[in-house]
């Protein structure tokens, strides 16, 4: 159930990261890097929703750089402090491999 939809348009077209607020989390499309991280941070701080798990749909994310990983880890740690979990759902194989190589696949939650 989509209750809101926001498109972040930067100077370059097409939009580098589309952020959709979905029930219980966010759906991301595009690339998470230094140029889009500020936009994403606004949606993760404060964490979406009041309680429970937060799903971040990464199925359509093609690239995450180190600042993007850091932002996801920040969200993960803040959620842990509140007894909540941030769950990366349906990461593409490219992104899954990025988490793996970065040593984060046993640290973050995946579904």
């Amino acid at each position: 159930m989509v209750d809101d939809s926001v498109v972040i348009v930067t100077d370059q077209a097409p939009p580098l990261l589309k952020i959709e607020v979905i029930d219980g989390g966010l759906r991301l499309t595009g690339e998470i890097d230094a140029s889009t991280i500020d936009s994403l941070s606004r949606y993760l701080n404060p964490l979406p929703g009041a309680a429970g798990d937060i799903a971040i749909d990464l199925n359509n994310v093609g690239f995450i750089d180190s600042s993007g990983l850091r932002s996801l880890i920040d969200a993960h740690q803040r959620a842990a402090g509140l007894g909540r979990r941030v769950i990366m759902t349906e990461p593409s194989s490219v992104v899954r491999r990025l988490f793996e190589i970065s040593g984060l696949s046993d640290y973050l939650y995946f579904a």
Binding site: E31, A34, G62, F63, D65, S66, S67, L69, R70, I73, S93, V94, R97, L98, E100, I101, S102, G103, L104, S105, D106, Y107
Partner: protein, 556 residues
């Protein structure tokens, strides 16, 4: 009064001719009845009303004339009247060189700005009485009322446009990355805001006693080259503005020639007939403007010039700190990388460090080799998250922590565990990745631990290339992390390749594609010399677009 005195010094000897067609024709019909009334009441052959446009250029709104036939003459007359009227609130008697005498009253609006002039002209035999002055003064009140009524409509539209331009200027300044970028982005907008055909910025270089000039793109190339720098003295408007700290104006070619004789030819070559220079608030730079026509520097124009100079000055301060930040970070990063690496017996060491694309701040890649004993060396390579000064500083701290730990602590696992603690405590170091490798020269034995870093590669003497396992959490994500130690060895002719992600990562492709590209490049390399092999491999991969690259290759 001080303002008037300043203005008087700028009135050129003789009449300056200003011919400028306003894009907007003044409402002539509004002033016609007033002009006719003036002629009748004062019994004069000629009356005129001029109104200054936004740039302070007087426009003859109405000239009712029986005797002055020559358009050049009335242009010159109206301009001269306007200039003189700027200097006084009184009704002035102005003798004219052509055998005429003028009675003129400046038109001053509610905020005290001179917006025009109301004048009557007669043969020079005419003697103006007090009654004449009162009549002209009374009539001018009607003219002002008319101007204000018109301005209320016209200027609202103009102000909307100016506000939009000021907004554009502020936006462009915020986005500018360096001083040159400030000029490229803002020169044109700044010029348009004050009706100038050209704008530049002069930055004070105290050591050289010079001004470094940054021109906007409208200046022809040959002139651009002719004026890279100016002496820091009062011979130029910019130099004078910086040294005196007050705005400098020269409204005509004659005035430029008188005030700045050495620069007059340059101004003429650039087609400039009026110039102004405004010092920035901090006084370390000045903003220059040039007009291709003479200009009267009215109070509204001065206010606008000051506003634009203030805005661009703020933009410059920001740009300078960006430039400085970049330079400092770059210097710092290079100074934080080891100048000389520890020599490992029997091993040739090759390194490479390439900063990312221009205009981007440097990143936090680092490497080092530290002797841990007579037969043990520890090699580290890592990448700190983020870019800029903070990343460079963090990278330096992390590298120094690494050096200190290697010299004090025995096992590789303990070294990395302590770096984990360190990275938790130091803001900015969290999530740093690294590979630590311990090497025994006598046996060639090699141990490696990866903390979320790119997988090391080993090229065997027989040409095969092995990609070592990757993974392991980045630094600073909790303590008591089980880290696995990879063990292998370097035979004679083998080489160990450690690198940061900039070498392999390309936007829009899987990291495995980049790793395979590197593996193949190392595989293809025929060089046995480590430095030559590194150069060959690096060039075959193509220059990365954005990220920094650090590589260290140990060849036994």
């Amino acid at each position: 009064m001080a303002a008037n005195k300043r203005l008087q010094t700028q009135i050129p000897v003789g009449y300056a001719v200003i011919v400028r067609l306003s894009t907007e024709q003044p409402a002539r019909e509004a002033f016609e009845p007033l002009g006719r009334l003036a002629r009748r009441l004062l019994a004069v052959p000629t009356s005129l009303v001029t109104v200054n446009d936004v740039a302070g250029v007087p426009i003859t709104c109405f000239l009712d004339d029986d005797v002055l036939g020559d358009p050049d003459q009335w242009e010159s007359l109206s301009v001269s009247l306007a200039k003189l009227a700027l200097t006084s609130n009184d009704v002035l008697v102005i003798p004219d060189a052509y055998g005429w005498t003028c009675l003129a009253k400046s038109l001053i609006d509610v905020v005290g700005d001179v917006v025009g002039v109301f004048g009557v002209i007669d043969r020079d035999t005419r003697v103006w009485t007090d009654a004449d002055r009162t009549t002209l003064s009374d009539l001018s009140k009607f003219a002002i009322a008319e101007i204000e009524r018109r301005d209320a409509v016209r200027l609202r539209a103009a102000d909307d446009h100016s506000t939009e331009q000021l907004f554009q200027l502020a936006k462009a300044l915020t986005a500018a990355a360096g001083i040159d970028d400030v000029m490229q982005r803002t020169g044109r907008i700044a010029g348009d805001l004050v009706g100038a055909s050209y704008a530049n910025v002069a930055i004070v270089d105290l050591e050289a006693g010079e001004l470094r000039l940054h021109h906007d793109s409208s200046l022809p190339n040959d002139l651009n080259k002719r004026w890279p720098r100016l002496r820091l003295d009062t011979s130029s408007p910019l130099g004078r503005a910086v040294l005196t700290g007050i705005p400098i104006h020269a409204g005509s070619s004659a005035e430029i020639a008188r005030e700045f004789p050495s620069g007059a030819q340059d101004a003429a070559d650039a087609g400039l007939q009026a110039v102004a220079a405004y010092p920035t608030r901090r006084g370390h730079a000045a903003l220059g403007f040039g007009w291709s026509h003479p200009v009267i520097f009215s109070d509204p124009l001065r206010r606008r010039l000051a506003t634009v100079a203030e805005l661009v000055g703020l933009g410059l301060e920001r740009a300078e700190s960006t430039d400085r930040d970049h330079q400092v970070a770059d210097r710092l990063q290079r100074s934080l990388l080891p100048r000389e690496l520890a020599m490992i017996p029997g091993v040739q060491t090759a390194t490479l460090y390439e900063a990312g694309a221009a205009n981007l701040q440097v990143g936090g890649d680092w490497y080092d080799i530290v002797a841990a004993g007579p037969d043990r060396f520890v090699v580290g390579i890592g990448d700190v998250v983020g870019r800029g000064l903070q990343a460079a500083v963090t990278m330096g701290e992390l590298r120094h922590a690494f050096i200190a730990l290697v010299s004090r602590i025995g096992s590789l696992g303990e070294i990395v565990e302590n770096l984990d603690h360190f990275a938790q405590d130091v803001e900015g170091a969290r999530l740093s990745t690294m590979v630590a490798a311990s090497y025994e020269p006598s046996s060639g034995k090699l141990e490696l631990i990866s903390a979320g870093h790119m997988p090391p590669m080993v090229r065997r003497a027989n040409g095969s290339v092995i990609q070592l396992p990757d993974g392991g959490r980045p630094l600073g994500l909790g303590t008591h992390i089980e880290r696995s130690t990879m063990q292998t060895s370097l035979g004679v002719g083998d080489s160990l390749w450690l690198y940061t992600d900039g070498l392999v990562e390309r936007r829009g492709e899987s990291i495995d594609v980049g790793l395979e590209r590197l593996r193949k490049a190392i595989d293809r390399s025929t060089e046995t010399d480590g430095t030559a092999a590194l150069r060959e491999v690096y060039e075959s991969l193509g220059r990365p677009v954005l990220d920094d690259v650090a590589v260290i290759v140990l060849t036994r």
